[in-house]
């Protein structure tokens, strides 16, 4: 037995073509190498192409303050919910109830204000607090009762939507304007006829986006620079292995459900500040699906283990650009869904192919 093994070693030693990781050689391999290293780059390139396409196609109508303001507002709303999904999807779970939380948190804020005269700031804190509790609920059901989160959160979605609609006879509630609360969280004071873009009023037009960027920076730091982020990746990448080495995977999952709930609630409150009204039917399941699409287009794996917050924001920008750009160019709103669907499929195929190439160690 030993003798044969010795022969084997000499054979391995004599093998001429070098084994191991091959450096990218051809142009195509180099492109795939860059894409696999920086998932955000591929989607950023696509975003850029879309912007150029719509800018040219609309004779310069895309890159205007008014239009970009709309696109970036959609981007911020979608991006905040998408980033809420990113951390969770990295752990290998998903939350389909975020659009319910998105409607619930601001509705509680508005209701408290309308019924008890509670200041909006306090109502917002309560709303986000309840959104986090929704995350605890989703998380505990998923990890304690071993229900797949895909199912848990569909249940929660219906629960929340039914609840929001029934607490106040499905009436939209007009929220009072309380400065500086509305000013800080997204009431657009910008008047394109009189205000300079680089004035305080200009800033308010983009404040939802600034909040989203802030959250994305925070999530990125958490994901890549903290033990919690490391253990989040470990949980999604190798659940059993992570547990064996002492990662508290259940706890990590519940925390990430809480982050998802909190982000979705916050997104809802930003949305309500923009329209000064809390609509119990805000969001809808379609918002969740678009946010998940944004996260996936941005390079987050549906299988867990990898994902980026920045990618989710760019993904959200792509989705918002497609939605608004096609409508601007005279397409029916329904047609943009065709492009969106095709875009998601293309992004998924690209992601899976890049993963497979990486697994085969060709790049």
């Amino acid at each position: 037995m030993h003798a044969t093994r010795d022969v084997d070693t000499s054979k391995v030693g004599a093998e001429k073509p070098a084994v191991g990781i091959k450096a990218p050689a051809t142009f195509w391999e180099k492109v795939l190498f860059v894409l696999s290293r920086h998932r955000e780059t591929s989607i950023a390139v696509i975003a850029l192409i879309l912007v150029i396409y719509f800018q040219v196609g609309s004779n310069g109508g895309f890159l205007t303050v008014q239009f970009l303001g709309v696109v970036l507002r959609d981007t911020s709303r979608l991006g905040l919910i998408a980033v809420a999904e990113v951390m969770l999807m990295i752990t290998g779970e998903i939350d389909l109830s975020v659009s319910g939380t998105f409607a619930l948190a601001p509705y509680i804020m508005a209701l408290m204000s309308a019924v008890w005269g509670t200041p909006l700031a306090l109502g917002a804190l309560v709303g986000v607090g309840i959104a986090v509790l929704v995350g605890v609920f989703n998380g505990l059901i998923t990890v304690r009762f071993r229900v797949p989160s895909l199912i848990t959160t569909v249940g929660t979605l219906f629960l929340l939507q039914g609840f929001v609609v029934s607490i106040y006879n499905s009436q939209p509630i007009v929220t009072p304007v309380q400065e500086p609360f509305n000013f800080i969280f997204g009431e657009s004071l910008f008047d394109p006829r009189g205000d300079s873009l680089f004035s305080w009023h200009g800033v308010t037009a983009f404040s939802p986006l600034l909040w989203t960027v802030l959250v994305i920076v925070a999530i990125t730091v958490v994901l890549h620079r903290t033990t919690f982020g490391l253990h989040t990746i470990a949980t999604g990448s190798n659940l059993v292995g992570a547990r064996e080495i002492g990662v508290r995977t259940d706890r990590i999952k519940v925390y990430n459900f809480m982050i998802a709930g909190g982000c979705a609630g916050f997104a809802g409150i930003l949305n309500t500040c923009q329209f000064s009204s809390a609509d119990p039917a805000a969001g809808g399941p379609f918002l969740t699906l678009q946010a998940i699409a944004a996260a996936v287009i941005g390079g987050t794996s549906l299988l867990g283990g990898s994902g980026t917050a920045v990618g989710a924001l760019i993904g959200a920008f792509v989705v918002a650009t497609l939605n608004n750009g096609l409508v601007m160019m005279g397409a029916q709103a329904t047609v943009s869904d065709i492009y969106l669907g095709a875009g998601i499929l293309a992004a998924m195929i690209l992601n899976v192919q890049v993963d497979r190439l990486r697994a085969r160690r060709r790049i």
């Binding site: 033990t227 490391l230 292995g241 992570a242 064996e244 990486r358 160690r361």
Partner: protein
């Protein structure tokens, strides 16, 4: 057969670890029945037995991954309870699992320090000290002569042998009191396997680390182990020092029939013939 010189284990080495009367069932499946093992300081104990005999379950109880239905673990004379692998690691018990418990999506150095990360404070935030972990991991792997492309590589890019080496390196980095290795040689080539066995010898010689090895190849058992515990159908049917028994006898026991009584009887025969 290659010869590694084993310094004889002194019998007055204190017992460092005892698992007493451990039983474990998973639903309808009984995995372990009243199993007791003892481990002396600096001892290398081999756990052998067929697939499904309960070896992995036993060490997963020791590592805190499973909790026993009955029985106790005594470490350094004190009864301990491991609610999770975290607890066991905190008590100085390090385990290399059969699946290696490495995170493919993370770098080698993050895997090396998984669960005991270094931090630094930046603006009041407790952030990972990646440069420190990178340097420590690189130096440590170099010291052990473990050859990997880079500590920055994601583990999924490493070969089976490299992964196994990283997992073993992680387990001994913290100078454990008890080292548990489940099939440590499974994915290793001859030279890498010899390195790991040499490592176990060194740890034992220099730091008096006690080791539990799960192995399938009996000649390895006799190369590095002081004592053998043979598990069959969830029970220990043979507990013998390697000086009392031989490879041939062990193989004869295994072949003599798979019935528990048959093996126990064979074990008794050997024990009595040795004591004469």
């Amino acid at each position: 057969m290659s010869s590694l010189v084993i310094p004889p284990l002194s019998s007055d080495n204190p017992v460092i670890l005892e698992m007493r009367h451990i039983s474990k069932t998973f639903g309808a499946v009984t995995a372990l029945v009243d199993v007791s093992i003892q481990l002396r300081q600096g001892e290398v104990l081999a756990l052998v037995g067929d697939n499904g005999a309960g070896k992995s379950t036993l060490i997963k109880i020791l590592s805190g991954f499973h909790q026993p239905d009955a029985g106790t673990i005594v470490l350094n004379g004190k009864e301990v309870h491991f609610g999770s692998p975290r607890d066991a690691r905190a008590h100085g018990i390090e385990t290399v699992y059969q699946d290696l418990a490495l995170i493919g999506d993370l770098t080698v150095y993050h895997n090396m320090f998984m669960g005991r990360e270094y931090h630094k404070r930046i603006l009041g935030m407790k952030l990972l000290d990646n440069p420190k972990m990178r340097d420590l991991a690189k130096n440590y792997l170099d010291t052990l002569g473990i050859n990997i492309p880079s500590v920055n590589s994601k583990v999924e890019l490493l070969s089976g042998g490299q992964r196994q080496s990283v997992a073993v390196a992680r387990s001994i980095y913290s100078s454990p009191k008890v080292l548990v290795l489940d099939e440590p040689l499974a994915a290793l080539g001859v030279r890498e396997g010899a390195n790991v066995l040499g490592l176990i010898q060194n740890l034992r010689r220099e730091r008096q680390v006690s080791t539990i090895l799960i192995v399938h190849s009996y000649n390895q058992v006799f190369e590095v182990c002081d004592r053998i515990n043979f598990l069959h159908s969830g029970e220990i049917v043979l507990d013998a020092s390697t000086s009392e028994t031989s490879e041939e006898e062990l193989i004869r026991i295994v072949k003599s029939g798979l019935g528990r009584e048959a093996i126990a009887a064979a074990a008794r025969r050997i024990a009595s013939s040795k004591s004469e």
